[in-house]
């Protein structure tokens, strides 16, 4: 079993199962804060999937997209928590 088959049939299914489990919490999550951390974890798993795909496709350029996603995930979580606090402060 070479590396590409191993990544295709073992690593990517594990990450895909993780995405399905986190998406279940994202759609079910009782409050909005659960959805926010589920979205954060979804984007983080997306960084891992992009990394494995860049190994598979032998293209190191795809890692730039992973960096952009890391920036956007942090910005989204901080913005959500900021406006949740503001909403509580107004009413």
């Amino acid at each position: 079993m070479n590396l590409r088959d191993y990544l295709t049939w073992v690593i990517l299914p594990m990450l895909s199962l993780s995405v399905i489990l986190v998406a279940y919490r994202f759609f079910k999550g009782p409050r909005i804060v659960n959805r926010v951390i589920a979205l954060d974890l979804l984007i983080t798993i997306g960084i891992g999937i992009i990394t494995i795909f860049s190994i598979q496709a032998n293209q190191a350029t795809f890692l730039d997209d992973a960096m952009i996603l890391a920036l956007i995930a942090f910005l989204g979580t901080v913005a959500f928590s900021y406006y949740l606090e503001k909403r509580k402060g107004n009413d």
Binding site: N2, Y6, R31, V33, L41, G48, I55, L84, E85
Partner: protein, 132 residues
Amino acid sequence: MIDILIMIISTVGALVVLIAAIGIVRMPDFYLRLSVTVKAATLGVGLLLLSAAVYFATLPVATKVFAITFFLILTAPVAGHMIGRAAYITGTKLWKHSVVDDLEGKYDKDTLELRSDIDQADREGELPASNT
């Protein structure tokens, strides 16, 4: 040989991510779920990125991987703290088997300031003679 090393590193990273995904479904409470998320962000994705650095084995890729990992390790605790504070302020309940809530009664409801002596100030207002 390098392939086997990449397989081992990426397997450990994917297992950590999978355990975190199981944890975010099975944990009974928002705060316990939050404690799972940060570990996946730092350790699991860090190991997956490390496998990419071992595979390409060039300096630009290693620098990129180091930048992404450093940024994740730097920002995950900050984001976790901010969303945890927002969740506590908006009134997310703790798990019913949680033993202690250290922040109970320490947030000022109006100004959202965290103080350690709000209870003490109330007690001093009620019983001024007992002040030492």
